[in-house]
Symmetry: C2
Subunit: 350 residues, 2 copies
């Protein structure tokens, strides 16, 4: 057994039982570096914080403007780091956020989660409450140039704690999707190809399944069109799908593929010439992005309804500016019309 | 009995029973002018369509730009008229819409409505479906000048039909509220005073009750602030509150007070000087208006979830442009800070 496990065993259950999950994790982190033997909670936290730094650095390099970095605490437990670059040279708004939340699930929430995760509690013995841990990295990048696509990414880990502090139920979720105002097939193909490669390295079924899931999830139902040209989306990846270690490896590969995929796309598009009309079209597409995030996105709704949530971190996903024109229709056979056509009928890109 | 009632009695239940409520009403309208003896459905429809014309005329006169007028049908029953003035001289976007919907409530919807309206069906004898009628006028006006407030108004009537075509349950709802970016006490007082006068003429309890209801309803819970400086809001005004005739009279007075209240306010503000910074603040307030409408407004959510809904008519309430800046805070003791202070702690204006 690793020294950490030894140490925890020595501390004895009586002492640890009096601590919350957050306090246990704080203690563990203060005593010892996070390694592969550490609890997944700490490994995920460490990984997403490292990735946040790398992504911020890569985007700063493209833009030439530093991010504003806000570390914050959530008084109910946990906290996060929100990095935002606003009104830069290349990016209208880029937000890269990490949040690490410790809390307690009340019984109704446990019962609801049982629908997808039977092992969260015995049907005959559902506890009145359960401690939980949730950590994730979210990013949204809205470039200024209407030829450059908006990108969104999120990877997250959720775990409940047994009364003795050992991990109970767990699952990973995540994905990434691209939202262009002007469609360049080259970008769409490169984006999907990169995600397919990541998926295929872990499971050949992942890409087709998660690509479809993405098309279905990022769908503006009231408009009858997708938010963008998709990518991958998945949730509830638990031991019924694959073991924790392999799923974490998949999540890591997904997140690490962001920089090498998006940076070449933004570099190709950021300095392209565009007209005032094209900028106007981008603003209309931004309006529909806002509609999806505020009307349909479960993550945003969950965030806004979480007590003590940091609203500015949740809504960093909204663009700096957006527009709504009554009854706007792109001209037939225009580039704008072609985008809408693809949004109404999602394509296979690879 | 009026000629219409006589005629309907003569037509006999057997013939009428084979028609839908919409068909019955179409027939009645084609045979006879709408009078005080007509069913409330037709009186409400006639009244809101007249008011729509008057309001459109009054706003056109202020702006100097004609509205675009779209009449539309809903294939599931009913239709409406949507009037929008976009990017005018005074108004960024002004929408005045009337909708008249005929449809069928499924049993779950009937059961839900029983919570507030016991007489919609006997507890022991809830039908599998009920025909319903809903008609309303909605308007939202977003002026260009940041010193001029956005205004919203809605008055609506809902009725279910008994199997013999006679009215079953019914209720009115509505109200009006003001959303300034810069607070002029004079405007807020005039707006509330006008609504209080309308309320007081019908029931001294209405204004305090409906003012409070408005503050509670138009509340951006996730921001901890009201959308604007309020007005009145009410729903479910049925026979447990007051009879149908008097409630309709109240609705009429409320709607008719719009022009004499808002037109002087817009005329005072539309040509005031303003800075770029003040325009930027207006755009940020617009962003919060969008948040309320897309995240919290039950009317918008209901509309977007109604099969066959005309999305462009529902979302005409959104401004032409809006903005979101991460962590924007008004300077202490500024005019912007004073507005936020009032939004966090709604005032009594009269």
């Amino acid at each position: 057994a690793s020294p950490l496990v030894y140490k925890m065993a020595m501390a004895g259950p009586l002492l640890l039982d009096s601590l919350t999950l957050a306090e246990r994790d704080e203690r563990t982190k203060s005593e010892q570096a996070v390694t592969e033997a550490s609890p997944m909670r700490l490994r995920m936290e460490k990984f997403i914080k490292e990735q946040q730094k790398e992504i911020v650095r890569a985007l700063e390099e493209v833009d030439g403007t530093p991010f504003r970095i806000d570390a914050w605490q959530r008084k109910e437990g946990g906290g996060g780091i929100t990095c935002v670059l606003q009104d830069g040279l290349v990016f209208e708004k880029a937000g890269v956020g990490v949040s690490v939340v410790y809390g307690t699930l009340p019984k109704p929430a446990i019962l609801k989660m049982r629908a997808n995760h039977k092992n969260i509690a015995d049907a005959e013995n559902v506890p009145d409450s359960l401690e939980f841990f949730a950590a994730g990295l979210s990013l949204v990048v809205h470039p200024k140039n209407p030829m450059a696509p908006t990108v969104h990414l999120n990877y997250r880990y959720f775990e409940t704690a047994n009364p003795d502090g050992s991990p109970g139920a767990w699952w990973f979720g995540g994905g990434s999707d691209l939202t262009p105002s002007y469609l360049f097939d080259e970008d769409a193909i490169q984006f999907h190809k990169a995600l397919k490669e990541v998926c295929d390295a872990h499971d050949k079924d992942y890409y087709p399944r998660f690509k479809k899931w993405c098309d279905e999830y990022f769908y503006n139902k009231h408009r009858g069109e997708s938010r963008g040209i998709g990518g991958i989306f998945f949730d509830d990846l638990d031991e019924t799908v694959r073991d924790k270690e392999n799923t974490f490896a998949f999540i890591q590969d997904g997140l690490k593929s962001f920089i090498p995929t998006y940076i070449p796309i933004i570099n190709r598009r950021k300095d392209m010439p565009f007209t005032e009309k094209e900028k106007e079209w981008q603003q209309l597409r931004r309006g529909k992005y806002v509609e999806f995030n505020l009307v349909h996105d479960r993550g945003t709704a969950f965030g806004l309804n979480t007590p003590g949530a940091r609203v500015e971190s949740i809504l960093m996903s909204l663009p700096l500016t957006a527009s709504w024109q009554y009854m706007h229709e792109p001209a037939p056979k225009s580039r704008e019309a072609r985008l809408v056509e693809v949004l109404k009928n999602p394509k296979e890109w690879v």
